[in-house]
């Protein structure tokens, strides 16, 4: 009988680059930057790392396939290296693989590193994925257009007028801009008002420019080990333990079977239930101290609050407008600015989210952006589009 990984793995160190338009930095430069911080934080030597996982998504404008770009760039001395790739959930996959490697007893100390160099495409937004099916029969769709449909579907299902959805998602983005402005590593560091957000040029109805996250270059990394080793290496510091990580992939029924309403993520609901089960959480709305969710678009964050049980079904509008997820609210969300403003280098984002929770749990952040009494931090990292996706959720915490 599988027992899960709750409290079997601890985070020994983490690193995260400045996110943004890093015109002068290659993917390799970014990897070294994140790794250097991560290794120093872990307080170990490179040769103590026994295995490594690389998360990266777009081959087209990035490092190439396989995991050798990681081992060769970091000069890892002939250790097992593996590349993970699962759309925008890629970095959480790398982290999960590293945690499972430790939890299984195969290794004591393992590196997970995610990286993405997006700003070599020459245009805004993500590169198109050029698959055979998409050009033959797929709609002429982009990422914002896929997620924008959550809004029209949500309006239909819950009878919430589009104007009110627009108000709520403007609040979501304004909050993330306010949080990002406080964070020196964030890509977008400007306070934007809800009025400015609602008046921005339309990208994909009803999402305007400020409803869409930053397209960024960046890298983030974690070194994981057992709680025992973590305690022995850092006796004077709280041990940040992994409570649960789960990844759920679509079965195809959302896109092709008539039961899905288009207004929620079927994967996220199942994934959250599994995470709460593994982590022993019975009342997520009140037990989760803070969250970093996959706010690729403001409407994604809106519906995700319900999918994760942080808002009641149909209740996200009231919670968002009531400030529940603001930095000083009852359940702060995107405390580092989120994908929206910290940035979204695809293959690094899941680890960046964990980094944000990690630095809060260790109370390493300045007072102005500190979450008080944080015990459990949740990350939600989504890859794909509402109709078909992989959803990764993790909870880390201190005792």
């Amino acid at each position: 009988m599988a027992s899960g990984i709750r409290d079997k793995v601890a985070i020994l160190g983490m690193g995260c680059t400045q996110f943004g338009e890093r015109w002068d930095a290659s993917a390799q430069n970014l990897m070294v930057e994140a790794f250097t911080e991560c290794l120093a934080d872990a307080g170990i030597e490179k040769k103590e790392i026994q295995a490594a996982y690389l998360g990266t998504h777009f081959d087209e404008v990035n490092v190439s396939k396989a995991a050798t770009p990681l081992s060769m760039t970091l000069r890892l001395p002939f250790i097992p290296v593996t590349r993970t790739e699962n759309f925008c959930a890629t970095a959480t996959e790398a982290f999960r693989a590293a945690c499972y490697a430790v939890a299984s007893g195969a290794y004591d100390i393992v590196l997970a590193l995610g990286v993405e160099k997006l700003k070599d495409t020459g245009y805004g937004g993500l590169p198109d994925i050029n698959s055979v099916d998409s050009y033959m029969t797929g709609a002429n769709a982009t990422a914002p257009g896929g997620f924008a449909q959550l809004a029209t579907a949500y309006s239909r299902v819950w009878g919430l007028p589009m104007e009110k959805i627009k108000d709520a998602i403007a609040h979501v983005s304004a909050k993330s801009h306010a949080n990002g402005a406080l964070n020196p590593k964030a890509h977008l560091r400007k306070i934007i008002s809800e009025e400015q957000i609602k008046a921005a040029p339309m990208i994909a109805y009803p999402l305007g420019l400020f409803d869409c996250c930053g397209v960024s270059d960046g890298s983030a990394a974690a070194i994981v080990t057992t709680p025992e080793i973590a305690k022995s290496l850092k006796p004077n510091q709280d041990v940040i333990k992994v409570k649960s990580i789960q990844v759920i992939g679509s079965s195809g029924e959302e896109a092709g079977f008539n039961t899905w309403d288009g207004a929620h993520f079927a994967t996220a609901r199942i994934c959250a239930d599994k995470v709460y089960g593994e982590a022993g959480i019975t009342d997520p709305r009140n037990e989760i101290s803070m969250s970093e969710v996959h706010d690729c678009f403001s409407i994604t964050e809106f519906v995700t609050m319900e999918d994760l049980g942080l808002s009641p079904k149909g209740g996200a509008y009231e919670d968002i407008m009531g400030g529940r997820f603001d930095l000083n609210g009852a359940s702060p969300c995107q405390v580092d600015g989120g994908l929206k403003c910290f940035g979204h280098p695809i293959g690094a984002s899941g680890l960046r989210m964990i980094y944000a929770m990690y630095e809060q749990l260790l109370e390493r952040v300045p007072e102005e952006r500190k979450v008080k009494n944080a015990r459990l931090g949740l990350t939600h990292n989504l890859g794909g589009t509402p109709a078909w996706n992989v959803c990764a959720v993790s909870v880390i915490g201190r005792d």
């Binding site: 198109d128 709609a139 002429n140 769709a141 449909q149 994909a204 109805y205 195809g252 092709g256 008539n258």
Partner: protein, 485 residues
Amino acid sequence: MIGLCSYGGYIPHYRLNRGLIFGAMGWMNPATIANARGEKAVANFDEDSITLAVSAGRAALQDVDPATVESLYFASSTLPYKERLNAAIMAPALGLKDQIRAADFTASLKSGTTALLAALDSVSSDNPRKVLVTAADCRLGKPASPQEMLFGDAAAAFVVGGENVVAEYKGSYSVTYDFGDHFRGANSQFDNQWEDRWIRDLGLDQFIPEVVTGLLEKTGLQMTDFSKVIYPCIYPAARRGIAKKLGITPEMDLDNLQLEVGESGTPHALVMLAKALEDAKPGDKLMVISFGSGCDAICFEVTENIAKLQNGKALSASLADKAELDNYNKMLVWRQIMPADFGKRKEVDHWTRYSAMWRNRKLMLGLEGGKCTQCGTAQIPAQDICVNPECDALHTQEPYSFADRTGHILSFTADNLAASVNPPAVYGQVEFEGGGKFMFDFTDCNLDEVVTEKPVTMSFRRKYYDEKRDISGYFWKAVPVKEVK
């Protein structure tokens, strides 16, 4: 008895007011003011001769079982492919079976009537017994040319057979001349023409009387026997001269749709014939004459069966279902006459894998999905394992077409980021009545016409054009049902 068993026509949704053309280009050729009246039908950016003909053909098949059609003829002077049978691309979209004879007729504006005559000849020898004849064109005139003003895009289709004939074939007469009134070389994008006076006074004014006289002599009929005489001639003075010469009264002279559609080329005589049939009564005799490298003249007599057709007004319906194309430049961009900046995203290379397309041909061309024989779930695409999680059966799906099914909008957006020649790209999820769900591009609509739960019908369209390799790819799009005014 052999003849026409059904008919259909299709006029694309967008109409360009000729005043807009004159406003944009009249400075270069002020004489075009003479033609700057009314509007011309303009194929949408995702339409071409193949898709127009499919729309007309599907209209003609509303009253005939497609499985009974044994042959498909397609006539056009603007075939998307020189090699790769254009009719073969159309056949699955029309719901025809694979075991048919198919051919493209081309290179003359009378090839539409020639295809119709070929079909009548086939049926008269009982091999094949039922033929679908389609004709469509999207001819281009150069900016500022009279042709740009005069031409319009349209399609027509007829089922030719020996059962349930609504218009009996009574005879034909043809003349063929190498008459270079309009001509395009193998690589020409635009129409060229010789002097109007020569076309009018030597061509129309001599060939049409010759072919009509020949038809009357052959059939033993008089001009006064005919209810309608149908011929595409854009010159009003020539029409008056021909009418006087042949004794065509104003009641017999069918309007050539110049002010509503424009001269549509290969299909034009057949579009007019479909229009005439919409209003015809049993016993009416119709004479249809085409013009291009000579003439074909054909005589039909309408039968009692005409009243039995359930869907005999498709052409008028598409004539009425129109939206103004409010910008002349859009037409130039859609037809690749004017280069425009579509952004770097458009530069992504999507080259066609013909072997993959072959595997997916029923889905791409016929919008065929599957229906699980175990649980009855309709699904698109058809899959090895049933999409219903409660069923999960392996290899239980039988072919199931979504082409004729009504869907409803589950979610939608209008995307300004997507590379499109007609931004924003409007698309969304469609749930079909009877089951099945898919994300489709929407077409022939603006964002303000799209709301959730609204019904949509499916339309066969050009999905992409690969400029690098000159490949047109096809699939289906959703068209929101227009409010009946």
